[in-house]
């Protein structure tokens, strides 16, 4: 999915592709049985949570049978994780996320964004990150990593890793250096990728962030941008579509893609056994959005002693962690409940640890475990790889 311009009227045709069959509620696969499609519909049980519901709301707005209201605006944030599971299971592949974003854009245009979202929005405006924290952390990370601002390969840490998981950045940069790559980092010139602006329905502000980042990346001279956060990865790949002059001149790869390649080429060797049974959680923005399913698994398979088991719902069918791009901010409790369902699946699969390659997923899972007082080891994929380095 590429969002060139979010506009409800332009999505009318997309909405008319929905035949209201309800496959966005439930799906069945041979050997797998039936399973729910929408984590939030499973929790709340009203149709407005389903993809079909979003289409019916969109059409009613366009046809003048419904008006945008404060309660609808709030519901648009409460009722969708933007996890794309409904689209992945729709016989007509109706692009529900684009419809939701167009509806949110309509809400934003009328000044009806929920307070929680406005706080994050304001943080990004003022501090270029959703947490509202100062840029000194970017400077600090730059200093810790000790990387130049120019080079062939640019490491794009993203806000979550910079502000919450700097150790991930350190581990990943170490891996890249081990492979002999000349890695650069933008430091304070790295701004929020814009995913939150995009998913809260503010495409023009998203574009401004994109323009800044593209200029900064071009100035770095990088040919390859390595993003570790799946949200950043998806968004950086979107830049070339939304910017008039394009974002050409550099390639965007996800860290797991590059790592898999480096391992395959023997440029990184994993020698220390990690004796654990783990399962891999597919982040929505990496899986259903970008169809990167096999590289992370291949990386895990390279770790000696590690045993990978699959959860019942994996790859295209994976259950969202509950984070969503903005949902975690707006409806924390629901996010935690969705995450706990996923952690139960990991336990059912016989895993001692759940591994993911998304800092937001990791955050939601950590909070879910804390809330439930449950135990499950959690790892960022690169952390495990680093443990195995010779």
């Amino acid at each position: 999915m590429r969002l060139v311009k979010v506009d409800l009227e332009k999505l009318k045709g997309e909405m008319y592709n929905c035949v209201r069959c309800g496959y966005c509620r439930e799906m069945v696969y041979p050997q797998m049985g039936s399973f729910g499609v929408c984590p939030l519909y499973e929790m709340y049980g009203y149709q407005s949570y389903t993809g079909k519901g979003k289409v019916l709301i969109g059409l009613a707005l366009l046809e003048g049978r419904l008006s945008m209201s404060k309660s609808l605006a709030e519901h648009l944030f409460a009722s969708c994780l933007t996890c794309k599971s409904c689209t992945a299971h729709c016989p007509n592949e109706v692009d529900v996320v684009s419809i939701v974003l167009a509806l949110r854009e309509e809400a934003a245009r009328r000044g009806l964004l929920p307070e929680e979202i406005r706080v994050v929005d304001s943080n990004i405006d003022k501090k270029k990150n959703p947490f509202g924290e100062g840029e000194e952390k970017r400077v600090e990370l730059a200093s810790t990593l000790g990387l130049p601002e120019t080079g062939e390969v640019l490491y794009f840490a993203g806000c979550y890793v910079t502000y919450r998981y700097p150790e991930v950045a350190r581990a990943e940069v170490e891996l890249l250096k081990r492979a002999g790559l000349n890695v650069a980092y933008l430091g304070e010139d790295e701004w929020c990728c814009g995913i939150i602006k995009k998913f809260e329905g503010k495409p023009s502000e998203y574009r401004k962030l994109a323009e800044h980042n593209v200029e900064a990346i071009k100035a770095s001279g990088a040919e390859t941008v390595v993003a570790t956060c799946p949200g950043c990865y998806h968004t950086l790949r979107d830049y070339s579509e939304i910017l008039e002059r394009g974002a050409g001149g550099f390639e965007v790869v996800h860290f797991t893609q590059l790592l898999e390649k480096l391992l395959r080429e023997g440029r990184i060797k994993l020698e220390n056994p990690v004796k654990k049974t783990v399962t891999y959680h597919d982040p929505c923005h990496l899986g259903r959005y970008e169809e990167i399913y096999e590289q992370p698994r291949s990386v895990l398979a390279s770790i000696p002693g590690l045993r990978l088991v699959e959860m019942r719902r994996n790859r295209r069918n994976a259950w969202c962690c509950g984070g969503g791009a903005t949902h975690y901010v707006y409806n924390f409790d629901a996010s935690i409940r969705v995450a706990l369902t996923r952690l139960d699946e990991a336990e059912e699969a016989g895993a001692e640890a759940l591994v993911t390659s998304c800092p937001l997923c990791l955050t939601v899972f950590r909070n879910a475990l804390r809330r439930a007082g449950a135990k499950m080891e959690l790892y960022y994929l690169s952390e495990l790889v680093r443990k195995s380095l010779g």
């Binding site: 209201r20 069959c21 309800g22 069945v28 049980g45 149709q47 419904l66 309660s71």
Partner: protein, 459 residues
């Protein structure tokens, strides 16, 4: 109505009642062509006791009730200003009785959930509703659908052993052997007349179906897909009829597709089927099917398009994008004896031609499912949802096709709902129609259950 809403909240809790405009929009239509009908409120009962209280309130305030299952109905079951009973809040129950080879299941369970659970235990139900993956047990029984396994087991109603129903008067009844306290649900014909049948295909007019007991069958291990093509509808029909005549125990489903419609000399036909049974049964059925198809002049054996149940459910309905952008389906399916299929194709083709449907962005298709002793022929119109002229013409064509097929072929439509109530064949039912109407008045004096379904005008 504020008092009613307040009382509904007292019954089920405030979080289980929604009067939000955006929620009403989501419950205004199913997979049907009717204009949206917005409800008064959406209520999520948590138990049968909640439903009983809601039914009492509906009577007191004279507000209709519509039960919402999967929302995939194609006949316009929605009533303006009604209370929608959204069943997602009721705990789901699937109880297998290995003594009597039955399963008692709550009506909000979907057919696919039931199949998954039964398969896990080595059983299967039959048939699986063709209302799609989200179709619920209650919806399938209320409309008496056909579906996967109909070739062997007939319509859904043929497999129902008993029901639990909350009547419009708020009494709870069990039909069949379940009516005897403590006996259990194992046989449909127990004391007195078969009242189970009153609720099957009733379009929800006589009460809220809360539980259904169905026959179940051991899940056989052997399966096989067969597929053939034909250059002539008569040859295809003779093969379908010949296979149905053998009443093969391993014939799970059989689907015929016209490759292009209206039928011309260029049209080819595909016949696909799945055999499911013990090894010997499957082998016997394969031999019989091969012999009949060869004798009647199949062109070749081909690989079937459909390779599993999910494909079949999906293929046979909602993936309309294969016909173009914005296409919506309007199925007009009904049972008819197999030998009438060529005549049906001829009449349907003539009407399609006379109405110049191609000028209205409407694509007609024709398929047929084997269904026990007959076929379910499915003339289907794919119209463009984004164009009002296409939608209006499809509705006009629907009436004309159903009326002409009933008059000239002997077509017995049973998905009537709200959409087709005024069509001519249903106005000719005479004393039978009046009897059903009298029963409705007797059971539902305030006309709270799905008014406007089947009868026109609503009393």
């Amino acid at each position: 109505m504020e008092e009613l809403i307040s009382l509904l909240k007292d019954v089920v809790g405030a979080g289980n009642v929604s009067v939000e405009d955006f929620e009403k929009v989501c419950y205004s239509r199913g997979a049907n062509a009717d204009l949206p009908q917005e409800p008064l409120a959406i209520v999520r009962p948590r138990s049968k006791e909640d439903i009983v209280e809601i039914v009492r309130l509906a009577n007191r305030f004279r507000v209709p009730i519509m039960v919402y299952g999967g929302g995939s109905n194609v006949v316009g079951a929605f009533s303006r200003g009604c209370i929608v009973l959204e069943q997602s809040g009721i705990p789901k129950k699937i109880e297998v009785d290995e003594e009597s080879f039955t399963v008692t299941v709550s009506s909000n369970v979907t057919w696919t959930q039931l199949e998954s659970e039964l398969n896990r235990k080595g059983w299967m139900a039959a048939p699986l509703c063709n209302g799609g993956i989200s179709a619920t047990i209650g919806g399938g029984v209320a409309l008496c659908n056909n579906g996967v396994r109909s070739a062997r087991f007939g319509l859904i109603g043929d497999q129902v052993v008993g029901l639990e129903v909350i009547l419009p008067t708020a009494e709870i009844i069990r039909t069949g052997s379940g009516a005897y306290p403590g006996a259990g649900n194992f046989v449909r014909y127990a004391w007195g007349p078969d009242l189970t049948g009153l609720f099957i295909g009733s379009h929800g007019l006589f009460g809220v179906i809360t539980e259904v007991t169905l026959k179940i069958y051991e899940l056989p291990e052997e399966s096989m897909y067969l597929g053939y093509d034909f250059d002539d509808i008569h040859k295809l029909t003779r093969v379908m009829h010949g296979i149905l005549r053998k009443r093969l125990s391993a014939l799970e489903w059989m689907l015929a597709i016209a490759g292009g419609f209206p039928v011309t000399e260029e049209t080819t036909f595909v016949l696909m089927m799945r055999l499911l049974g013990a090894k010997e049964e499957v082998e016997y059925a394969r031999r019989v099917v091969e012999e009949i198809s060869l004798k009647e002049g199949r062109v070749s054996g081909i690989l079937p398009v459909v390779k599993n149940t999910r494909d079949l459910v999906e293929w046979s309905g909602p993936n309309t994008r294969i016909f173009g952008e914005n296409m919506m389906l309007m199925p007009l399916c009904s049972c008819t004896p197999a030998p009438r299929f060529p005549k049906l194709a001829e009449v349907y083709g003539r009407v399609v031609g006379e109405l110049n449907l191609d000028r209205y962005d409407i694509i007609p298709t024709l398929t047929a499912f084997g269904c026990d002793n007959v076929i379910v022929a499915s003339p289907t119109l794919y119209y463009n949802q984004s164009k009002s002229f296409s939608w209006a013409k499809a509705l006009e064509a629907s009436r004309r096709i159903v009326e002409e097929l009933a008059d000239k072929v002997g077509f017995a439509p049973h998905y009537v709902g709200r959409t087709k109530t005024s069509y001519r064949p249903f106005q000719k039912l005479g004393a039978y129609y009046e009897l059903v109407k009298r029963i409705k008045k007797l059971l539902d004096p305030n006309n709270i259950m799905n008014p406007g379904q089947l009868f026109i005008p609503a009393y």
